[in-house]
């Protein structure tokens, strides 16, 4: 039974790896359960069995066929009564607990997941339809409010905080029958690119436990990669879904700003924050987006545009025509494949471009002249909004309070002890940028840059249907490597922040592996589309995923 569940945990050894000669002699061993319902399903367990020193560091996972949807498979099995929701959740919970001491991706594990699964089973037995995500164990980034579980945002200042309400995205998952399995680790309030800024623990990258999973949705990405959950919600302010997805070799979608309600997402930078999805396949990410997308009367910035059925855009591999991308134009952003990008990363991305061309697409280099302005402007805007959004953490209504003789001292002590270094740094920067006399030079200027970036993207997307770039200039780096060098950490967001500045949707797709100091590490390809055209990104991403050479 268990083996038939087979989370395709880090089943993302993509074709490029083979092209690079990373073919793994151990391949044969992974197919001893080939008779299972899903041949690919055994990989995870096999990987576990082989990983000894670093439990999950077995990156060159053989790939006999393209990534398949865990959710669809589980749904089919569930509805055929081949498996129960309780069995699904038990399987994932067991694996979650098994991996957790090494990966440390969870801040809280649900104590009611099995009860919720039993309820789903009950509903199924009564002939109810619990929804398209029935019994699917989903992890939630801890900056999303969950009524039944603590929600800390990775911050001491919300230690023990239990929200009285569910974030809209969370509520919609529950309404779709999902079982929330736990809350994942993150950089405090989403501020960071390595999850090392969490006040609670450092999460490891399942591909190499000595490395970071990326951030800020590092817990979600690592949990998906380690098979601790079927898929996960994250949030993306400057790359916080895409970069960890890239580092952990999973699929990450940052939807268009306004596509998913932010209600219940602890605000970091309100004009940039987006709730999005992480999964092991484009199908799963599409299914997740189906559940959470759409207008929310509680979020004035959420769009009332009609939500398509994202799954419908996905064409099964068997039905794809010979040149499935014929007639499509892609633009690879020139500024993202030159200086500042590790050559190996650039090479993997270039290989992906070759693959797209083989599928019939025309790929041209495009230049976004304002690209380099994005990072500094982003850090001004995000820090400014953060300085304001984090004012509410004052120790008065919730969170730990340091007792002091008078109000200002209480604020100072509570916030001084409650916030970590990176958050303090951004509050200080943002407060400075918004101060009288500096506003025009910083905030206003950054907003002007933002407008230019939006215009550049608009122009570039008129010429090409989808823009391409690496997700990050490097693969996962070592834990501790950049902790003392915040600027270098910020530079890692170079490829992703502009997309948030323009509010566009972008997909982070595993496109290959590179070797770094003996570790094989995944690299992500970023596909950027027009606003509210997630459907197109997912369609193309799915074709890419289904056709990349296996090894």
């Amino acid at each position: 039974m268990a083996s038939s569940l087979g989370a395709q945990a880090h089943a993302h050894g993509y074709g490029q790896a083979q092209a690079h000669g990373y073919g793994d002699a151990r391949s044969a061993r992974f197919f001893r359960n080939a008779g299972d319902l899903s041949p690919s399903s055994c990989r995870f367990r096999a990987a576990m069995a082989t990983a000894s020193a670093s439990i999950l560091a077995s990156p060159a996972i053989p790939r006999s066929k393209p990534a398949a949807s865990q959710i669809s498979r589980l749904q089919t099995q569930l509805r055929k009564k081949e498996i129960s929701a309780v069995e699904i959740v038990t399987e994932y919970l067991d694996r979650l607990r098994e991996k957790e001491p090494d990966v440390k991706s969870f801040l809280h594990i649900s104590s009611s997941a099995l009860d919720e699964a039993a309820e789903i089973d009950g509903r199924l037995a009564r002939g109810d339809d619990p929804g398209p995500l029935a019994g699917i164990p989903i992890a939630i980034k801890d900056n999303l409010c969950t009524q039944g579980m603590p929600s800390t945002g990775g911050s001491r200042i919300l230690d023990g905080y239990r929200p009285p309400y569910d974030a809209t995205a969370v509520k919609r998952l529950k309404e779709s029958g999902a079982v929330l399995i736990g809350k994942t680790n993150l950089d405090e309030f989403g501020m960071g690119s390595s999850t090392e800024s969490s006040a609670y623990q450092v999460t490891s990258n399942p591909w190499d436990l000595s490395r970071v999973p990326g951030g800020s949705s590092g817990g979600s990405a690592a949990a998906v990669a380690a098979g601790q959950c079927a898929c996960a919600l994250g949030s993306d302010t400057g790359g916080s879904i895409r970069q960890p997805a890239s580092f952990c070799g999973v699929v990450g979608l940052k939807p268009t700003y306004g596509r998913v309600s932010r209600f219940g997402l602890m605000a970091y930078a309100s004009s940039l924050d987006v709730v999005g999805c992480l999964g092991t396949s484009v199908d799963d990410v599409s299914l997740l987006l189906n559940a959470i997308a759409g207008h929310d009367p509680a979020d004035a910035t959420s769009s009332s545009k009609v939500v398509p059925n994202y799954l419908k855009a996905l064409v099964p591999a068997k039905e794809l025509p010979g040149n499935p991308l014929a007639g499509m134009k892609f633009g690879i952003i020139k500024e993202t494949i030159g200086e500042g990008v590790e050559p190996a990363v650039a090479q993997v991305v270039k290989n992906a471009v070759v693959h797209l061309e083989k599928l019939g697409a025309v790929v041209q280099e495009v230049s976004l002249p304002t690209f380099s302005l994005g990072l500094p402007a982003y850090y001004v805007l995000a820090a400014s909004e953060a300085s304001s959004n984090l004012s509410r953490y004052d120790g008065i209504r919730y969170g730990p309070r340091v007792v002091a003789d008078e109000l200002n001292a209480m604020y100072g002590a509570s916030r001084g002890q409650g916030f970590g270094a990176e958050v303090k740094r951004r509050i200080l920067m943002g407060t400075y940028a918004l101060s009288a006399g500096y506003y025009d030079a910083f905030y206003k200027r950054a907003q002007q840059v933002r407008t230019l970036i939006q215009q550049d993207f608009k122009k570039a997307l008129e010429d090409g249907h989808i823009l391409l770039s690496p997700v990050a200039p490097s693969p996962a780096f070592k834990i501790g490597e950049k902790v003392l060098d915040p600027l270098s950490m910020y530079l890692g967001d170079l490829m992703t922040v502009n997309v948030n500045m323009a509010g566009l949707p972008a997909l982070s797709l595993p496109c290959g592996l590179i070797e770094d100091e003996g570790s094989k590490l995944p690299v992500g390809l970023q596909l950027i589309g027009n606003a509210f055209e997630e459907e197109e990104l997912l369609r193309v991403g799915h074709i890419f995923e289904q056709t990349v050479p296996t090894w």
């Binding site: 999303l144 409010c145 929600s151 945002g153 919300l158 905080y161 929200p163 009285p164 309400y165 974030a167 932010r262 209600f263 219940g264 997402l265 602890m266 605000a267 930078a269 309100s270 004009s271 009367p297 509680a298 979020d299 004035a300 910035t301 400014s384 909004e385 300085s387 304001s388 984090l390 004012s391 509410r392 953490y393 004052d394 008065i396 209504r397 919730y398 109000l407 200002n408 604020y411 407060t431 918004l434 101060s435 009288a436 506003y439 905030y443």
Partner: protein, 528 residues
């Protein structure tokens, strides 16, 4: 007493205090303000004309109008006064992590109404901003407000000063009107509700997020009474538009006044002092006059620099609010049709009512009383529409009806006498069917129980005696019963004619037709 005084009138020291310390609770100050200043009224106001011979005061007012919407500005909580602490709260108005504001459309409608009523230019595109400061009653650490693009600006308001202050018509500029949210309320435990000496404070967030419109005036006022009248007119407009209760006493209309004094002929403004927390127009008037005198005295002693020095300190203490556009709310876009339809539906405004009454020929005293309250003026208008004599209707409303309302603590909408019945009553008196005295007699009955004047008159047997023969016999009886007076009359004491008339009237409890009766008395006395 001295300290309460200083805070109430905003002396220099108190300004420093207000800015450098957490804000003083409104409720606490209101109590002091109204009681402590009462005794100062006459002394301050009477010295004003002399003080202003050589000096000129410049006064501007910032008014916060609490809107009477059913729900709060950015969430669905009830916007209700006097509920149990923290009973009208939700994640949004408590500033919980992840909560987002959503604008209440009624607030926008109300803002448009006020903007139009104050003759403002409306901004078809405006936006919200965050005004940031830390305080225990401000759950998000910022207040959602409008900074550089308010919903309305460049308006004006017209007032008529009370006759007892010399009267006069004034027009004051309105700089801007903008939408914002109220903060919560702090209750200081112990210490008699004061901050100092209180061991701890309790936070009540029922008021947090209640919608406000802030009206900023131009510094166009020159005396306390002008500023007080300005505030009163704003309150009248608010009530007339039905957008709020406009009550200073309840704190639903709050004025902060900036006062400065300069020598006459000087173009530059003097140094201003802000006065806060006044709970009535009268208190505003007194506080401003007191402050004017205080500043004039400082000028005369050559100590105007003292004002300046202290105020600069206050300025240093001023928070930098770090305004920036509220990213959680969209730009506020008004449609011209929306504005037009609200404009068409605007009621007659207090100033328009006053001009209309003035044109009718009413005295300014009457105009001011009748137009002071929309309900009263509407009542008066209906009474006139029912054919009542204008002056008589005005007198009845301002006199007996108002007196009754005052003693019974009622409002005109509570009375059972309809305008048509008042018109009937007035007409009955005017055409001599009943005397004014009987009118006064039956009024309480009509106010309490309703019914028509005729019904009450008949039920009480109060119809007028108009039969000449009957009157003649009544007169005869009176003359017979008062032989001494009749003798005196005959000897030339003609004033006694009135005595006989009075006696006849009394003998009928005022039911006798006075004109006929007077005629017959004269006849019987051999005068005609």
């Amino acid at each position: 007493m001295a300290m309460a005084m200083a805070m109430a009138v905003g002396s220099c020291e108190s300004i420093v205090l207000l800015y450098s310390q957490p804000r003083i609770p409104r409720s606490a100050l209101q109590i002091r303000c109204s009681s402590s200043l009462a005794s100062k009224q006459t002394s301050s106001s009477s010295k004003i004309p002399l003080a202003l011979q050589d000096f000129e005061a410049v006064i501007g007012v910032e008014t916060h109008v609490q809107l009477g919407t059913a729900t709060k500005a950015f969430c669905g909580c009830l916007s209700q006064y006097g509920a149990q602490p923290n009973s009208n709260v939700c994640p949004v108005c408590m500033g919980l992590p992840g909560a987002l504001p959503v604008l209440n459309e009624r607030v926008v409608d109300f803002a448009i109404k006020l903007g139009l009523a104050l003759n403002c230019d409306l901004s078809l595109r405006s936006k919200f901003d965050r005004k940031q400061y830390f305080y225990a009653d401000l759950p998000k650490g910022y207040q959602i407000s409008q900074f550089d693009i308010p919903i309305a600006r460049h308006g004006s308001i017209e007032v008529d000063l009370p006759v007892e202050y010399g009267g006069g018509h004034r027009k004051f500029g309105i700089t801007r009107v903008h939408i914002e949210e109220d903060a919560g309320k702090l209750v200081h435990a112990g210490g008699g509700g004061r901050l100092s000496g209180s061991p701890y404070s309790l936070v009540d967030l029922n008021r947090a997020g209640v919608p406000l419109l802030e009206i900023v005036s131009e510094p166009d006022m020159r005396t306390g009474i002008e500023a007080a009248e300005y505030a009163a007119e704003v309150a009248r407009v608010v009530k007339c538009l039905g957008i709020g209760s406009g009550s200073m006493a309840e704190g639903s209309l709050r004025c902060d006044v900036n006062v400065s004094v300069r020598p006459r002929g000087q173009a530059a403004f003097g140094t201003k002092v802000e006065i806060k927390n006044m709970n009535s127009c009268a208190a505003m008037h007194r506080a401003i006059d007191f402050e004017i005198l205080r500043q004039v005295a400082l000028h005369k002693e050559g100590l105007e620099s003292k004002i300046r020095t202290v105020t600069m300190r206050a300025k240093e203490g001023l928070a930098d609010y770090r305004y920036f556009p509220e990213p959680d709310l969209l730009e506020l876009v008004l449609k011209q049709e929306q504005v037009d339809s609200i404009n068409e539906a605007l009621p007659e405004l207090p100033n328009e009512t006053r001009r209309r009454y003035e044109a009718l020929g009413l005295s300014m005293q009457d105009v001011l009383v009748l137009a002071d309250d929309k309900n009263v003026s509407e009542y008066f208008d209906s009474t006139l529409e029912q054919g009542a004599d204008m002056k008589m209707a005005a007198n009845w409303i301002m006199g007996d009806i108002t007196a009754y309302l005052k003693t019974e603590k009622l409002s005109i909408s509570d009375v059972k006498i309809s305008p048509s019945v008042l018109a009937e009553l007035v007409t009955l008196i005017k055409d001599g069917t009943i005397s004014g005295k009987i009118g006064k007699e039956i009024l309480p009955e009509l106010i309490r129980n309703g019914g028509t004047a005729k019904e009450v008159i008949e039920a009480k047997g109060l119809t007028q005696i108009s039969d000449e023969a009957e009157i003649a016999s009544l007169v005869d009886k009176v003359l017979l019963e008062n032989p001494k007076q009749l003798e005196a009359f005959k000897k030339g004491k003609t004033k006694l004619q009135g005595f006989f008339e009075g006696q006849v009237m009394r003998s009928t409890n005022g039911r006798v037709n006075p004109i006929l009766m007077k005629k017959i008395v004269a006849q019987k006395l051999g005068l005609s």
